[in-house]
Amino acid sequence: MENENNKLSDNNSNIGYLCTGKQCAMALGKKNAIRIIATNGVENSILTYEQLDALSDIDANVFEHMGLLPGNQVFIYLPRLLDYYPLFLGALKANLVVCPLFSNFGPDALIDRLSGSTPKVIVTKGSLSGRIEKILSKVSNLHAVIVIDENISGNPIIRSLEELRSRVPKTYAIRSTKPDTPSILHFTSGSTGKPKGVQHIHGAAQGILQSFQEVMQPLPDDLFWCTADPGWVTGTSYGIIAPLLSGLTLLQFEGSFDPEAWFKIIENNSVNLLYTAPTVLRMMMQNYEIDYKKFDLRSLRNIFSVGEPLNPEIYHWGLQKLGREIYDTWFQTETGSIMIANRPGLEIKPGSMGKPRNGVQPEIFDDNDKPTNTEEVGKLVLKVPWNSMFIDYVGATEAYRSKFRQGYYVTGDLAKKDADGYFWFVGRDDDVINTSGHLVSPFEVESCLLELAEIVDVGVIAAPDNLLWEKVVAFIKLANNTEWTNRLGLKFKLHVSNRLSSVAIPAEFVVVDTIPKNRSGKILRRVLRAQYNGEDPGDLSTMEE
């Protein structure tokens, strides 16, 4: 879909400017940029492009007047509230690096991400500030914690956004920003070690916009709803940047998932494009009590999905119950934008990832890094560069370099390509768990469980799940004189939920006498997987006696 706004020809690559000031310069100042639906599903708050530009100018000044310099990190630990957007764009205007944090993270998950970074400011809200205060002593370089909705006194490091905003000039002279200037830092989980910070740049806006236009094919007056939390790459690339670069109105809902409420929002607000996750769609599919045909969905042109593979059952359910195809898309935190996708105009093969977008060249490699034959499973790799590519794992440049082979980026996913050029996701090439669209590190869950006195050893794996795609399963060795009870299991789950995140809660515990490890002490997860699935564990010669 061609649109006069689909190329970023401006000399300034600053994402904050391109999403606000540039849109105003294109006579969209009076148009609604953001519509936030309150938790009751009815009340809404709106910011026009003009208002968003003005507020993000103020927030850019807030950060600069606090002494922050280009390249400093601003962590945003907030749910989808109206203030999120000017803060996010204001920090980008000031050439700061924005680090969004999933608002459901507990103290352990926060420490893992903050301690390996150089945070200057954390922005949060009053009810979440307690979690930040618990870990303040473990975070270095912290200049201030800005609270958006309360005046908290007592701790001089905690500042009120309202008060800070009242002290700074209303206008901001936008910084000239080159495409290779660092912009957003998202964290991604690996099989081992702490989460890695994936560094993106302002120039990625071109890839985000191009992918949005090619895959989602928006019309100028569309209302676009991306349900992802801005703590994840989908929530920033498509929940904020893509619709604003395109001059659309984006919609967000402050409430939690409720299928009936969501469909009422689509109906009442005439949402045109919906971007959501397969787990959400599966939860809708399994809620047999709701008759989705009762909703007026005439405005809803297309539904897109991302995060985990979209199984054919959901595709067929969408056709039958919603009267629409659901288009699956694939990308990663590292790719910054959609790489492979189903989209309107492309014949859908249910269950496939679709085809690459323009300018993206995926291949399937075998173990010797040679292209495989059609239909043969191998490593999914992407030819470098592409126009929204990450530039580093911050503080882990060796790990970054290790992701590239012979001019290709190795995604860590396994896939195959069919004779028609469609790609098919098969699984992960590592131990990372993809549960309800979130990547969870087994290492993080193991570390968290080992904090409990009742557990002396643990190994965590992914297991298939009908709702979540994959679930977290923890093999545990209990301490002497500790007996397994359901009550103990509940205690373990609460610990993971509160210290790490609700997405990392083990769905199952398996009590064992030993955790299989190799002679250097590395957990043999393939042995645990085989044990869980009742399969042959294969070669055990490296296993510790």
Binding site: S103, G106, G130, S256, L490, K493, S497, N498, I505
Partner: protein
């Protein structure tokens, strides 16, 4: 049963000693109350009060008041 007793369960599940619930409280008013923690909340209530909820009941609770009424109906 008094709402204060249920409030203690909420404080433990959501790790927030300052949390105060009312009959009108919903998932949208409590940080971290999502579909995953909802299951933990229900399990904690079942464990604490020695009662059980059906899957249908679990889905239908919209407010703390709904939950409290259901608990009181199940308690001897």
């Amino acid at each position: 049963m008094d709402i204060g007793v249920l409030n203690d369960v909420f404080k433990e599940v959501f790790d927030d000693t300052s949390l105060t619930i009312t009959r009108e409280t919903t998932a949208d008013n409590v940080d971290g109350w999502d579909s995953m923690t909802h299951i933990l909340l229900i399990s904690s209530i079942e464990e604490k009060f020695g009662i059980e909820f059906s899957q249908k009941e679990v889905i239908k609770f919209k407010t703390v008041g709904d939950l409290l009424d259901s608990i009181n109906l199940k308690l001897p």
